[in-house]
Amino acid sequence: MNTKTLLRNALLLAVLAIPLLPFAGDYLLHVLTLIMVYMVLAMGLNVVPGLCGMLDLGFVGFYGVGAYTCGLLTMNYELSLWLILPIAALNGAVWGILRGAPTLRLTGDYFAIVTFGFSELVVLFLTNEIWLTRGPLGLPGIAPASIDLSWLSKAINPEWDWYWEFIGEKPYFYMAFVMVVGVFFMMRRIEDSRIGRAWFAIREDDLAAASAGIDVQIYKVIAYAVSAAIGAVAGSFLARWTMFLSPDMFKFWESFLVLCMIVLGGLGNMTGALLGSVVLIAMGELLREILPRLGMPAETRFIVYGLIMVLIMRFKPSGFLPKIADAALHNPIIVELRRSLKAKGVV
């Protein structure tokens, strides 16, 4: 194990230990969980502008679709979150494809405008289709997440009842942690595969990609589906965590914030997406404290975000971790190849 993996594992363990610390109150855990939700969102969004190079201004739409899918299935059918997650991911993917397919021929600004329009449509739908979503009243009292293994325990011993309801921040913290790690490893693997390379090729030069044999349109659709599915998973978590949803949780600002995260971290770099989420959410929380003391409304923090983006564009236009396709370099096949090239004295 090299120092880098060691460091990474130590960091993971440290994060896992946080809830056990005496000073780790609900507020801290809440903020950390929020960071992790945004990590998932940022990794999901990263697929489209980061890996494929298409500016997406409406990612929050899929977050909303996922959240309401989960909220409604919970309230109306009392489904388990574990069943809802794949359903919501699938529903997100379907909407990703529905949004993506008609816009395949659009590039650049035109595509961005359509994505923006889509997320506004989602908000309008959630606000106005009161029969389904209760409109601006939102969905209060969504049941918390739970793990129900009583069917198994009762089969073993009728006295046992393996049923845990997620109470307080701790279980959500751990669940979010698992989600981040899972999505991260999944994305790193996809990134370092035939599909990931096709996406990067499209990002770099779509004509050259097509000439290399890539069906650009199909791979864009796959990207939209994967991206939207991840957004919807984050939304499902949100629904069972906050236990309340309303349409204005999915306004354009959310898309903008997540976009800032991946630009800050480095478009196309999954670790960068994680970094961007930490920085912007932590800063958001600080500003929420500081700004009112300076006599400014907390919403002025968006001005600060804007300022940061301007500074990034000026001084570090490709973000903190600008390297793309670096997962490939850690693939055992590639590591082995490098070693054998070195041994042969070729490199």
Partner: protein, 264 residues
């Protein structure tokens, strides 16, 4: 000279851009195993013709017939990725690499159309996926050493010299497993040594069973390696034949040097 059927037949192909006839009724055949050169002054329509053959443009008129592995077929209107899958690969006049990716990844992407693993294989790293990835790397390295870039496999492709970038584009094109390779001004920007080794490379490509069609302005290069030449001017084919005939063809001299030069 060659009894085998043509690999590519360009039959009365025209391409119009608004009011501009970039190509008008161009016809010629590419025989397998024979290096064909496509020459003509700037703006003659050479690149446009490549773009029609490679599926980037659909010809306004005429037919393109490609003898793919599974039989001859009309390919008008096929998209570029489909042409690549059928066996036509190309390079670009103004180099188009995936510039932020490594040299190796550029060539690996060339294997895309000959491989098939999807999301499931990628996420779960199935045995089949790993085996395919291994084959992709082996193939890519084979083509990289073929063009002499093995030692730069892990360079970012934009960090390569101009000549190396052209070679990398050729390696990426070869990785797609073509039968026909279209090279658009491969020697542009190369120094004399690089050009000399390009000649060797093109002969090696032919030995691999890949037929080369070449657009080139460097007449010395063209005359030395092309066995057959097609000359375009203002979108029209003005001559066709062996290098010697072309060199002495008055119409060609006129196109290149202007009216009156042919009689000088």
């Amino acid at each position: 000279m060659n009894a085998s059927a043509p690999l590519l037949k360009v039959d009365g192909v025209s391409k119009q851009f608004g009011g501009l006839m970039a190509l008008s009724e161009v016809s010629f055949e590419v025989l397998p195993g024979r290096i064909t050169g496509l020459i003509g002054p700037n703006g003659a329509g050479k690149t446009t013709l490549f773009n029609c053959i490679a599926g980037v443009y659909t010809p306004t008129k005429g037919r393109l017939l490609f003898d793919a592995a599974d039989g001859a077929r009309r390919t008008n209107g096929f998209k570029p990725e489909r042409m690549t899958a059928l066996g036509i690969a190309r390079t670009f006049q103004n180099i188009r690499l995936f510039s932020q990716l490594t040299v190796l990844d550029n060539v690996r992407i060339g294997r895309h159309c000959r491989t098939s693993q999807g999301l499931f294989g990628a996420i779960f790293r199935t045995a089949a996926q790993v085996a395919e990835e291994r084959r992709i790397v082996d193939e890519a390295m084979r083509w990289l050493s073929f063009v002499g870039l093995e030692g730069k496999a892990f360079f970012q492709s934009s960090a390569l010299s101009y000549g190396d970038q052209r070679r990398l584009e050729i390696a990426r094109a070869l990785a797609t497993g073509p039968r026909l390779l279209l090279l658009d001004e491969p020697a542009a920007g190369m120094n004399p040594q690089e050009t000399a080794s390009l000649v060797g490379l093109i002969h090696a490509i032919m030995k691999e069973g890949v037929t080369v069609v070449l657009i080139e302005h460097d007449m010395k290069l063209v005359m030395s390696i092309c066995e057959h030449l097609v000359v375009l001017d203002h979108g029209m084919k003005i001559a066709e034949g062996g290098p010697r005939d072309i060199r002495e063809n008055p119409q060609v001299i006129e196109a290149y040097l202007g009216r009156g030069a042919a009689h000088a």
